[in-house]
């Protein structure tokens, strides 16, 4: 049974990765550019896989090889705690949001290792930049998830979904999803929070990546987008809850919606300098998440 469920999660993850990649290639149409067809992601991945992976000068070989694997694994582990139907998750963790929180923190370390391992200047700058921005983003994330745990009286995601039978957390805690989107943009290295990359450092942590290594890194980023979106759907949009259609279908639809939102936010919001972003995170976003927790607490009582 659980092997079947695991296979299901893996297939869903693979489909989600493809969908996310297609969203990325559809988005230019909003700006008057060309939208690519559904095959475009597969073609781009094939283009990476037929090319060599260049080794850098005196790299940290093991970390270079395994950083994409850790990133991918963390996404899959995070996705495993998300309930796919009412009362059913691959991993029935009583502390689901703690598991997700650990995945978030380890993703920051993984991205750092990815930038550290090639022993090259631009990836190194990206690595340290991302660590500086990724750390303070963990704080709003935890406040938002803890606020969602209050009405459920539990840290389990199954209980959090269950607590949304009458009204979704999106309604009870309106600031939650926007704050959590900031976390999602950070974890998936996108747009305004993509401090691991950027044109100014020639692609940052992946500036020296080529071939299969770059392919795996891109896939891992998309896998994290899927996991993050599924979690956000469960925490704020009632996850598998919904009329008529079966639970997993509802979860898939809501996940796709959050993915599209994240892709859009990543494309349409400018990225400021790291120093200013650090200021924005601590001085504006953190107090805002304090306020969010306080208001959610009062609503829950």
């Amino acid at each position: 049974m659980s092997v079947l469920l695991a296979a299901g999660v893996l297939v869903a993850l693979a489909l989600g990765i493809w969908l996310g990649a297609w969203f990325d290639r559809l988005a230019p149409a909003l700006e008057g550019g060309r939208a690519a067809g559904p095959m475009a992601p597969l073609r781009d991945w094939a283009a990476l896989l037929i090319r060599d992976q260049a080794e850098t000068e005196a790299p940290d070989r093991m970390n270079r090889l395994l950083a994409p694997a850790w990133y991918l694994a963390l996404a899959a582990i995070g996705l495993s705690v998300v309930p796919v139907a009412e009362g059913l998750a691959l991993w029935h963790s009583p502390v689901g949001i703690v598991v997700w929180g650990s995945c978030e923190a380890l993703i920051v370390i993984t991205v750092f290792l990815h930038g550290w391992s090639p022993n090259a200047p631009f990836p190194l700058i990206g690595a340290y930049r991302y660590a500086a921005i990724g750390l303070p983003v963990m704080l709003p994330s935890m406040f938002v998830l803890i606020a969602a745990a209050l009405p459920a009286e539990s840290l389990s995601l199954i209980a959090i979904v269950d607590s949304q039978r009458d009204s979704w957390n999106l309604v009870r805690q309106p600031l939650g999803l926007p704050l959590f989107l900031v976390v999602g943009l950070t974890l998936t290295l996108r747009g305004p929070l993509d401090f691991a990359g950027g044109v100014d450092i020639a692609g940052g942590t992946s500036a020296e990546e080529s071939g299969a290594g770059l392919f795996l890194w891109q896939v891992a980023r998309l896998a994290t987008l899927v996991a993050f979106s599924a979690l956000a759907a469960a925490v704020f949009l009632g996850g598998p809850l919904g009329p008529l259609l079966p639970g997993p279908v509802w979860l898939a639809l809501k996940t796709a919606l959050v993915m599209a939102l994240t892709v859009l936010a990543g494309r349409l919001i400018a990225r400021t300098t790291p120093s200013r972003m650090l200021h924005v995170l601590w001085v504006w976003l953190l107090p805002l998440s304090f306020a969010h927790l306080a208001v959610s607490g009062m609503v829950a009582l």
Binding site: S80, G101, L124, L216, P287, F290, A300, L301
Partner: protein, 111 residues
């Protein structure tokens, strides 16, 4: 048991995929050289790197530790009611004073 199995299985699977797909062939010296837009470096990139937001990192540790208290608090919050709200309010209030002090000292930026 579930936990161990799931973490081990996903990690193992991902590591196997990474191991199987990637071939880091030995590159020639000019191919391996770090990219600087046609430029050259004097030294290796690895260094005792000046991590600019180091003061922020210290404050971060304080905030991250407080999360530990919030997990059990979240579970009993509704049962304990206003008392729990007041307690956490005071705790966050004290932390906010620290935040304000840090802001005044200008620690939330590149040093």
């Amino acid at each position: 048991m579930d936990a161990l199995l799931i973490i081990a299985a996903w990690t193992g699977l991902a590591a196997l995929a990474a191991w199987g797909m990637q071939r880091q062939a030995g590159a020639t010296a000019p191919l391996a050289a770090p990219f600087l837009g046609g430029g050259t470096p004097d030294t290796h990139a690895w260094q005792r790197y000046h991590f600019r937001p180091y003061t922020m990192a210290l404050v971060f540790i304080a905030f991250e530790m407080e999360m530990m208290f919030m997990y059990p608090w979240a579970v009993v919050f509704v049962r304990e009611g206003a008392k729990a709200l007041a307690e956490m309010g005071m705790f966050l209030g004290i932390l906010s004073v620290g935040l304000l002090y840090g802001w005044r000292e200008g620690i939330f930026r590149w040093q």
